[in-house]
């Protein structure tokens, strides 16, 4: 019995040992194998992901400009950025760029619409003005003939009415002249002009046609500021701005012109102590035919805007109701 039991036990031990030995062999073979396969797969997947991320990053980089991480971003990342950080940062930059471009595109589009609208109005204005020439001429001549015929014989009210007709035709002549000036958009004839001199001449012209007794005019500048510009057109700019200022101040207040040279350009401020402009009016102030005056044609500032733009400059308005108005003009000095 005991011998049989010992035999069975030995067999069992042998079997167990052989099983353990097989298992050990299997472990020794398969674990490194699986580890190798696992690591290879992991390496393959990660390199594939990184490669794809790099491709994506390059594409994003190509869409945007060359990427330079900002100091702030570098600080936040502790001086090291992995592929995902880089991609996130690049996407953010590209997104910002796209927003900027969208804004720029929107502004350019607005500008294009405005210039197309102005061109259409210009064509219309020019056509109307030329067509009006003959009828106005006929009315003027007829009224003058009537004035000659009744001279000394007609009752005073008749003479007065005829004078009024002639006066009104002169007014229409002024409107037609403004329309043509607005529509003409002729190229500036550039020469070297002394800005302070142009400003003084313009104000002298305004004095001749408007009551400026109670207007205090100041020109704040050093003596010599010269730019390349069309002297006649620039004078028109200041005549229009000054006439407007005197009108909104109802002939009483301070009109100040200040000018300074900046790198390659001149900045001019024309300020009045008038009633000022509401926000809505400020947006429309340079639109043709927009006027706040009963007898205005609404072309003065549209002409100003056209001339300034043709000189490669810009004009903006800053105003507040009751606080007066300041026009800021930027003009390139141009090559001497």
């Amino acid at each position: 019995m005991i011998v049989i039991a010992d035999d069975l036990d030995r067999d069992a031990r042998n079997n167990a040992e052989s099983g353990i030995s097989s298992s050990q062999t299997a472990i020794l073979v398969f674990v490194p194998l699986f580890l190798l396969i696992g690591l290879s797969t992991l390496l393959y997947i990660s390199s594939s992901v990184v490669r794809r991320l790099k491709t994506l990053t390059t594409s994003v980089e190509q869409i945007g400009e060359h990427f330079v991480p900002s100091e702030e971003v570098m600080r936040e990342s502790g001086g090291h950025m992995d592929e995902v950080d880089v991609l996130v940062e690049k996407t953010r930059i590209v997104n910002n760029k796209l927003n900027d471009w969208e804004q720029e595109l929107h502004e350019k589009n607005e500008e294009l619409i405005r210039s197309k609208k102005l061109a259409a109005i210009g064509t219309l204005a020019s056509g109307v003005a030329h067509e009006l020439n003959n009828p106005i001429n006929n009315i003027t001549i007829s009224a003058q003939v009537l004035q000659r015929k009744i001279a000394g014989d007609a009752p005073p009210e008749v003479t007065q009415i005829v004078d009024e007709i002639i006066g009104q035709t002169l007014r229409v002549k002024g409107i037609v002249s403004n329309l043509l000036e607005f529509a003409r958009e002729r190229e500036p004839q550039l020469s070297t002009v002394q800005l302070p001199e142009v400003v003084r001449n313009a104000y002298e012209q305004v004095i001749r046609s408007t009551d400026t007794m109670d207007v205090e005019f100041t020109l704040d500048t050093r003596d010599e500021i010269s730019i390349r510009a069309d002297a006649g057109q620039l004078e028109r700019v200041f005549i229009n701005l000054f006439s407007n200022a005197v009108a909104v101040m109802e002939g009483k207040g301070r009109l100040t012109v200040k000018m300074e040279e900046e790198d390659g350009s001149v900045v001019i401020w024309v300020s009045d102590t008038g009633k000022g402009l509401s926000r809505e009016d400020q947006e429309k102030i340079f639109d043709p035919f927009f006027t706040r005056r009963e007898k205005g044609t609404g072309l003065g500032l549209a002409i100003v805007m056209n001339i300034i733009r043709q000189h490669g400059g810009g004009i903006t308005v800053v105003s507040e109701k009751g606080m007066g108005t300041v026009f800021e003009i930027h003009l390139p000095k141009g090559a001497d």
Binding site: A129, N134, N137, I141, S142
Partner: protein, 123 residues
């Protein structure tokens, strides 16, 4: 001494009033309502002065000026331009016009210019 003036203007009202006014000032006057008729008048007859509107049917004022300079060099030409058409006025003066007048014009100014032309002739 007579001073003969031809008024070439297609606007009837303006033409009539200019003719009446000049006649009252003692000028001998004729009218034409287009450039071509004005040229025919000048070819057929002698005129001291031509008042020519720039914009006219059949032949415009600038062409009329050019032709008149050829067929009747002694005739002075005053060109009437539309308001703001300073370029056509400059062209006309270069082409040999005696003077120009922008529309709408003052009758007194027109008479003054013609009086001056007559004084020059009599000198």
């Amino acid at each position: 001494m007579t001073f003969r003036v031809l008024v070439a203007e297609d606007e009837e009202i303006a033409r009539k009033h200019i003719l009446d006014t000049l006649e009252a000032e003692g000028y001998e006057v004729e009218g034409a309502d287009n450039g071509l008729d004005a040229l025919r008048e000048i070819e057929a007859d002698e005129f001291d002065l031509l008042i020519a509107d720039i914009k006219m049917p059949k032949m415009d004022g600038l062409e009329l000026l050019e032709r008149v300079r050829q067929v009747s060099p002694g005739t002075k030409v005053i060109v009437v331009t539309g308001y703001g058409s300073i370029n056509s006025a400059v062209t006309a003066m270069k082409e040999g016009a005696y003077d120009y007048l922008p529309k709408p014009f003052d009758l007194d100014e027109l008479v003054l210019k013609i009086n001056k032309a007559r004084e020059r002739k009599s000198l």
